[in-house]
Symmetry: C2
Amino acid sequence: MEVKVLTIKEDVLGANEEKAKANRELLDKNHNLLINIMSSPGAGKTTLIMQTIKNFKDKTRIAVIEGDIASTIDADKISRQDIPVIQINTAGACHLDANMIGKAMDKLPLEQTDLVIIENVGNLVCPAEFALGAHKTIMLLSVPEGDDKPHKYPLMFTESDVVLVNKTDVLPYFDFDVKAFSDAVSGLNPSAKIFPVSAKTGEGLELWFSWLEDALK
Amino acid sequence: MEVKVLTIKEDVLGANEEKAKANRELLDKNHNLLINIMSSPGAGKTTLIMQTIKNFKDKTRIAVIEGDIASTIDADKISRQDIPVIQINTAGACHLDANMIGKAMDKLPLEQTDLVIIENVGNLVCPAEFALGAHKTIMLLSVPEGDDKPHKYPLMFTESDVVLVNKTDVLPYFDFDVKAFSDAVSGLNPSAKIFPVSAKTGEGLELWFSWLEDALK
């Protein structure tokens, strides 16, 4: 049967660009690199951050800002690594904004920090709409979510500097075409780096670590 | 290290309750059951709907409303079942609202329909905030997303009549505790029905079909 298409546009709120710019100025003054990590719920952001902390903590001073609607589950995990961590609870909001990040930065020892990692609220839509002041934007798409996601959620793929294809350890159990996925991402965003990884097993993470090491220079 | 918590509240927009009420009145006049299916991206909503159509189409007249930010991938799949389907493209918005559903309903043959199925935008946050006029609210949480999601995204679990734990076929490859998950859901929402299923293999779907059959009476 014929598919009927209704295109209904919602006005997207918020000019938080000014606050994002102020965040960036403060970061640059303190020589901090800020990266914003986004994905669907459960795609593996926290596991990636834990692996990144383990790899870099001897040479790089790291702080983490955790965004969740509720709970401190992820921040509790991070804090066990003896890393400064701020949990933002958004009380229902589907994304972090520049004002929230500014408030979190106020509580971090920025002068004694090299790398600030934001774990955004798990959501493949809203977080991509709000500038935070980050120098680099990272997204994870996990294998179980399916390779059609760039077509359905284009903005996040367009906005990201790095796209990590996470959970490659379960590729045998899902119908996920890495080549088709990479082609779709490159179609939207030709300069995006695409790294297939398993944050759980560590497979492929050396490419991510090497990219981040360059970004920190 | 100590976890610092900032609670930052955003004003949530929109009183679309009135329009949702009008949708409901029109549905009741036409003896339609409207169900709203929500989940994270890639949790298996379309596969569940396809299985539901196959099971019910000989005895029940079904129509489908597909919500996506972009693309008609899912609606194209559904339309091959010779079922009336409307694709709503939200042009960036992270959820469907009652006004969009009203416009879609205007294009459906409601007088010749028993069951209207909404596939909401893949998002574990925003869709739960917007009443659509649905009689029943269904959510899927897929095994790869992890069993901690009720703590992080409580609203959707609180709002749902049925919680389907999907992708049970990959339980051996993930660290997902069905009992801990079910306990967390019941803690938020004691009356929610929880059905572990694999929409892909069909395992466990008889409980869902039986529940839906009762709801259609």
